[in-house]
C-alpha cells in the first residue's frame, strides 16, 4: 500500500488544481458561479465459463464536467479531453450555452454555510481490491462457477462465474471555495448457473457478494453454492390460477420496493406532482410498523459519501417514522422549490443539473425470521424474482412479472412462474403485515423480508 501512496497524492493534487483552475477560468469567461467535477476510475472484470476464461477486461478512464451559472441561468459541459485546449472548449461551451437558457429563480449554488464534509474515515477505499494477481482474480471467478456446478448434476450449463474490481476517484469544487474529494473501491463475485429439468426446460438464477474490500467478500464457494440453490429451486416451475393471497417478498425483491419508494420521496418527483406521496409530508402513509431511514454516512456503505453532489455533508434522515412521512429526499434546488432544507441527497453526474439519490436507504427490521413469517401463512406466494417496469409513481399502480415458490400450510412447496403481482404502492405500504429480522446491506438499498396482504396475482 505504502509504495503507491506518493504517486496517488501527486495525481490527487493535479486534479484538485485542475478543478479549481477550471472554475476560475469559467468566472473569467463570464460565469457568476460555477462547479466542476472530475471523475476517474479503473475497472477490471473477468468471466469464466465452463472452466475457461471467457472475457478479461481491464482499463481506466477519466472525465471532467463543468456547470456554470450566469445569474439565474445555468448550463453544463463535459469532456474527456484534459488538455489546455480541451478545458478552454469546456469553459467557453458552458458559458455560451448558459447565455441562451432561461432564468430560473430557484437556480443556484447551495447556501455557503451548508457546505462541508463528513469528518472521519468512512472506510470507502481499500487498495486491496486491485492487489490480487490476475491469475488469482480469474481463480475467484472459476471457483464460484465450479462450486455452483458441483452442487447437482442437473446443473450442466452456466452463464459463468465472474470477478470484478474497480476503484473510483471523485473531485468536486465550486466557486464558493468548496473543494472535496474521495476515493471508493468495490469488488464482487458472481455465479450464474443454469439447470435443466427432466422435461428439458432450463432455469437460471444468480448469486453474488459485493464489498469495498476483499476481506469482506464472501468466499467464491459460498457464492456458487447459493447460486445453485436458487437455480435448482426454480426447476419445474408452473403457472398458477389467478388468486389473491398473502405475498412474501424475499429480501432481494423487497429491496426493489424500497427503490420505488425512494423515487417517490425524491424532491424532483414531489415538486412535479409526479409522485403519489406529493403533499403528504407529516401524514400517515404507511403502517405503524414502517420506519424508513436514509443514511449517507455509514462506514463502508454502498451508498456512503462524505459529501453529496453539491458539496453538502451527507447525513442520516428519517424518511418514514412509524408510518408517518417525515422527510423527502432533497437537493438544493428541490428544497428551494418546496420551501424546505436540502437533505444532502444531491446526485451529480458529469453533466446536467444535480439529481437526487438516496444514501444507504433501509427499512428497520422486525423480529420474526423469514421462516416464521412463511410458517404463519396458510396459502400464499413467496416471491424470489420480479421482472419489468410496471410501476407508476404518479398513481402508485404496481404490476410486475414475478416468480417464486407457492406456500401451502406454512411451507414452501412448488416453484411458480409466468405470473404477475399487482396492487398499489399506497395500499401496499399500509398492508405490510410482517417485517423480517434479516436486514442485510448487499447494496445501498436494504430491506428485510416483507409480507404484504391484499395483492392480486394474475396467472391462468
Amino acid at each position: 500500500m505504502a509504495t503507491h501512496t506518493e504517486v496517488l497524492n501527486e495525481i490527487q493534487t493535479d486534479l484538485r488544481e485542475l478543478a479549481v483552475e477550471t472554475i476560475s477560468r469559467a468566472l473569467k469567461a463570464g460565469a457568476t458561479a460555477a462547479e466542476a467535477i472530475i471523475q476517474e476510475g479503473n475497472e477490471f472484470s473477468t468471466v469464466v465459463r465452463l472452466g475457461q476464461v471467457e472475457t478479461l477486461k481491464e482499463s481506466g478512464s477519466r472525465a471532467i464536467g463543468l456547470r456554470v451559472f450566469i445569474g439565474k441561468k445555468t448550463a453544463s459541459t463535459y469532456s474527456s479531453d484534459f488538455t489546455n485546449e480541451g478545458i478552454e472548449r469546456l469553459v467557453s461551451g458552458a458559458v455560451t450555452l448558459a447565455r441562451v437558457t432561461s432564468e430560473d429563480p430557484y437556480a443556484g449554488l447551495p447556501d455557503p454555510s451548508l457546505l462541508g464534509i463528513v469528518p472521519g474515515d468512512l472506510k470507502l477505499y481499500f487498495e486491496d481490491v486491485h492487489s490480487l494477481p490476475p491469475e488469482e482474480r480469474i481463480e475467484y471467478a472459476r471457483r464460484a462457477e465450479s462450486a455452483a456446478m458441483a452442487v447437482d448434476t442437473r446443473i450442466g450449463n452456466s452463464d459463468g462465474g465472474s470477478f470484478d474490481a474497480g476503484t473510483g476517484h471523485k473531485i468536486f469544487a465550486n466557486s464558493l471555495g468548496f473543494v472535496g474529494e474521495y476515493r471508493r473501491s468495490q469488488c464482487s463475485i458472481m455465479a450464474i448457473p443454469i439447470a435443466q429439468a427432466d422435461n428439458g426446460v432450463m432455469q437460471r438464477d444468480a448469486w453474488y457478494s459485493v464489498a469495498r474490500t476483499l476481506t469482506r467478500l464472501e468466499s467464491p464457494e459460498a457464492v456458487g453454492k447459493e447460486a445453485a440453490r436458487r437455480t435448482l429451486r426454480r426447476l419445474g416451475a408452473r403457472k398458477i390460477a389467478s388468486t389473491q393471497v398473502p405475498v412474501v417478498f424475499d429480501s432481494e425483491t423487497a429491496r426493489s420496493l424500497l427503490s420505488e419508494i425512494a423515487d417517490c420521496v425524491s424532491g424532483d418527483a414531489i415538486y412535479r406532482h409526479a409522485s403519489f406521496l406529493a403533499g403528504k409530508l407529516g401524514e400517515k402513509i404507511a403502517g405503524e410498523n414502517i420506519t424508513l431511514t436514509d443514511d449517507g454516512t455509514m462506514p463502508q456503505g454502498f451508498g456512503t459519501a462524505p459529501f453529496d453532489g453539491e458539496g453538502i455533508p451527507t447525513r442520516r434522515t428519517v424518511v418514514i417514522e412509524k408510518g408517518v412521512l417525515k422527510s423527502y429526499l432533497l437537493n438544493t434546488y428541490t428544497a428551494k422549490k418546496l420551501g424546505l432544507k436540502t437533505t444532502g441527497n444531491a446526485a451529480r453526474g458529469l453533466t446536467g443539473n444535480p439529481g437526487i439519490r438516496p444514501g444507504n436507504f433501509f427499512l428497520e427490521q422486525g423480529r420474526k425470521t423469514p421462516e416464521a413469517i412463511i410458517a404463519d401463512i396458510k396459502q400464499g406466494l413467496y416471491i424470489t424474482d420480479l421482472m419489468g417496469f410496471g410501476v407508476n409513481h404518479v398513481t402508485g399502480d404496481y404490476s410486475r412479472g414475478a416468480s417464486g415458490i407457492w406456500i401451502e400450510h406454512g411451507e414452501l412447496t412448488y416453484p411458480v412462474e409466468e405470473i404477475t403481482v399487482a396492487g398499489n404502492l399506497r395500499d401496499m405500504l399500509n398492508n405490510i403485515v410482517e417485517i423480517g429480522n434479516d436486514l442485510e446491506f448487499r447494496s445501498s438499498l436494504a430491506s428485510p423480508t416483507l409480507r404484504i396482504d391484499g395483492m392480486m396475482i394474475a396467472g391462468e
Partner: protein, 476 residues
C-alpha cells in the same frame, strides 16, 4: 484501403501504419483476431421544465477500444487518450487473453462498400442551439394548450453525432458518421384527487429539420397530453389469461422481448436460450413473418455498418412461423460456422461488442384492424407500452402497458390503469391468430439494455391478436 478523409486521421494524427502496429501488438501473444474501435462522440441535451429551459448540456468523449479474440476467449482494454503509447498499452493488455507466440498476421485493410442510410448535411450537434430551444418550447406550449388539467410538462431534445473507425486484423476497415436525435415530452395531469402521467417522443438517425418538418414538437406534445388525460379516468385492469390485441407500432416491443433476445447468437452458441436448438422448428403461428433489419433509412436502430465494421442487413428470424435464423456478431459467427449478420453492437469504446437487435418487426398480414377488434368478446387492447424484460433462459418475458383499453363484445371501451403482460417466448407467438394489414414502426424512442450496455433500437408490428395472454391487473 481508400484514402478516405477520416476524423481520426486528420484530428488525432492516426495513420494506417499506426493501425497495423496496434493490431500487431494486440496479436503479439497469439490471438486469432484483433480489432480496434475508435469513437468520437459529441452530444447536446436540452430540457424545458415548467416552461423554462432548466438544463442545457454539451459533451465530447473520445476513445479507442482494443479487442483480442483467442478461441472463445475475449480480451478487452480501452483508453480515452488516443496517444500511440496509450493505445499500444491497451493493445498489450487485451493481448494477454492469449498465451504464446504471435500466429496471425494482420491483413491489409480493405474498405467494403457501405450503406448510405442517413443524411448528414448540417449535423444537429452543430445546428443553432436557439433552434433546438425553440422546438422544445413549442412542445411545452402545445402540451399545456391541450387541456387545462395538464399541470406539468417536461420536454427534452437530445442529439449526438458518433464518428467511428473500426479496423480488424482480417482487413476490416470501416468508418461511419452516425447521427441520432430524439424528442421527448412527459406530461402530468391532475383532476381532483386523480393524477396521471403520459409520455411521447420520437426521432431516429435524423437531423433537426426532421422535427421542423416531418414530426413537429406539437405532434409529440399533443400525443403525450392525450395519453395523460385518458389515464385520468382509467379503471382497474383485469387479472388473468384473456384475448389480447396489440396496436401497431411500439407494441412491437413484444417481438423484441418474446423472441428477439432469445435469438441473439451468443445465447444460442452457449445453449443458454429457451430458443437454443429450435432453428427449423415452429415458434409462431404460420401468419408470423419476423425480421431484424438494420438497413431502413433514418431509423433509430439502423446502421451503415455495425460496431465491428460489418455491413448491416435484413435477417429473417421467423418465416411462416418457423424459426429461421439467429443474430450474430463476428465471434459467434466464427464459432458457430455461420456468417455474421452485421449484429455486433456496443454502447461505446468502453464496451465489448455482442449480438444485438437493430429494427425488429413483423410483416403486415391481411386482417383489417377493425375486424380484429370486432372478433374479441372480452379482452384487452394495448396500444402503448413502457419497458419490457425477458429471462432468455426460461423464455419468460414481460412488457408493461401504459395505454390500454377493455374490449367488450367487439368494442373498445374503458381505459385501463397501467398493467404488465407476461408470456413465454417460444410459445407466445403461436397464439397469434390475426395479423393486421397496418404494419407500423415505432416513432424512434427505443433503447435496449443487455449486460449493462444500452443501444438504440427500433420495433414494429401490425395490429395483432393473441388468443391468450396473461394480463397483470388487479380486478377479478
Amino acid at each position: 484501403m481508400t484514402g478516405k478523409q477520416n476524423l481520426f486521421f486528420q484530428k488525432f494524427g492516426v495513420t494506417p501504419t499506426d493501425l497495423q502496429r496496434y493490431l500487431s501488438e494486440a496479436l503479439s501473444a497469439g490471438g486469432d483476431y484483433a480489432d480496434l474501435y475508435f469513437e468520437y462522440l459529441t452530444s447536446t441535451n436540452i430540457t424545458v421544465d415548467e416552461s423554462i429551459v432548466k438544463s442545457a448540456t454539451q459533451g465530447i468523449s473520445a476513445g479507442c477500444g482494443v479487442r483480442v479474440l483467442a478461441g472463445e476467449r475475449t480480451g478487452y482494454a480501452y483508453t480515452d487518450d488516443l496517444a500511440p503509447e496509450k493505445i499500444l498499452r491497451a493493445a498489450r493488455t487485451a493481448a494477454l487473453i492469449a498465451r504464446g507466440p504471435a500466429q496471425q498476421p494482420v491483413q491489409g485493410f480493405k474498405e467494403s462498400a457501405a450503406h448510405q442510410l442517413y443524411q448528414i448535411s448540417s449535423p444537429s450537434v452543430d445546428a443553432d442551439i436557439a433552434a433546438k430551444l425553440d422546438l422544445v418550447m413549442r412542445a411545452d406550449r402545445a402540451a399545456r394548450a391541450y387541456d387545462p388539467r395538464i399541470v406539468q410538462v417536461r420536454g427534452g431534445y437530445a442529439d449526438e453525432l458518433r464518428q467511428i473507425l473500426v479496423v480488424g486484423s482480417d482487413g476490416t476497415f470501416a468508418t461511419d458518421v452516425q447521427p441520432l436525435a430524439r424528442f421527448t415530452v412527459i406530461c402530468i395531469a391532475k383532476s381532483g384527487e386523480n393524477s396521471a402521467k403520459g409520455q411521447s417522443g420520437g426521432g431516429g438517425r435524423v437531423e433537426i429539420d426532421y422535427f421542423q418538418t416531418e414530426k413537429t414538437p406539437e405532434t409529440f406534445a399533443q400525443e403525450a397530453a392525450r395519453q395523460t388525460i385518458i389515464q385520468l379516468d382509467a379503471r382497474e385492469a383485469p387479472a388473468g389469461e384473456m384475448e389480447v390485441v396489440l396496436g401497431p407500432g411500439w407494441p412491437g416491443i413484444l417481438l423484441h422481448e418474446a423472441i428477439g433476445h432469445g435469438l441473439e447468437a451468443d445465447f444460442n452458441r452457449k445453449g443458454t436460450s429457451a430458443f437454443s436448438g429450435l432453428i427449423g422448428k415452429r415458434v409462431a403461428s404460420d401468419k408470423c413473418m419476423v425480421v431484424d433489419n438494420g438497413t431502413l433509412p433514418s431509423r433509430r436502430g439502423s446502421l451503415n455498418v455495425d460496431d465491428e465494421g460489418s455491413p448491416t442487413q435484413e435477417t429473417v428470424l421467423i418465416e411462416n412461423g418457423i424459426l429461421k435464423g439467429y443474430l450474430s456478431d463476428k465471434l459467434s459467427a466464427r464459432l458457430m460456422g455461420m456468417p455474421s449478420t452485421g449484429s455486433g453492437r456496443r454502447e461505446s469504446y468502453e464496451h465489448i461488442p455482442m449480438p444485438r437487435m437493430t429494427n425488429t418487426y413483423m410483416l403486415a398480414g391481411n386482417d383489417a384492424p377493425e375486424d380484429i377488434i370486432r372478433s374479441v368478446k372480452r379482452g384487452v387492447y394495448a396500444v402503448n407500452f413502457g419497458g419490457g424484460q425477458v429471462d432468455i433462459t426460461n423464455g419468460k418475458f414481460v412488457f408493461s402497458a401504459s395505454e390500454a383499453y377493455m374490449i367488450e363484445d367487439g368494442h373498445v371501451t374503458a381505459p385501463l390503469k397501467n398493467c404488465t403482460l407476461i408470456g413465454n417466448g417460444p410459445d407466445a407467438l403461436t397464439r397469434v391468430s390475426m395479423v393486421g394489414n397496418d404494419l407500423q414502426l415505432d416513432e424512434g424512442v427505443g433503447t435496449c439494455g443487455k449486460d449493462g450496455q444500452s443501444v438504440p433500437v427500433g420495433v414494429g408490428i401490425p395490429t395483432l391478436k393473441l388468443d391468450s395472454m396473461t394480463v397483470g391487473g388487479t380486478a377479478r
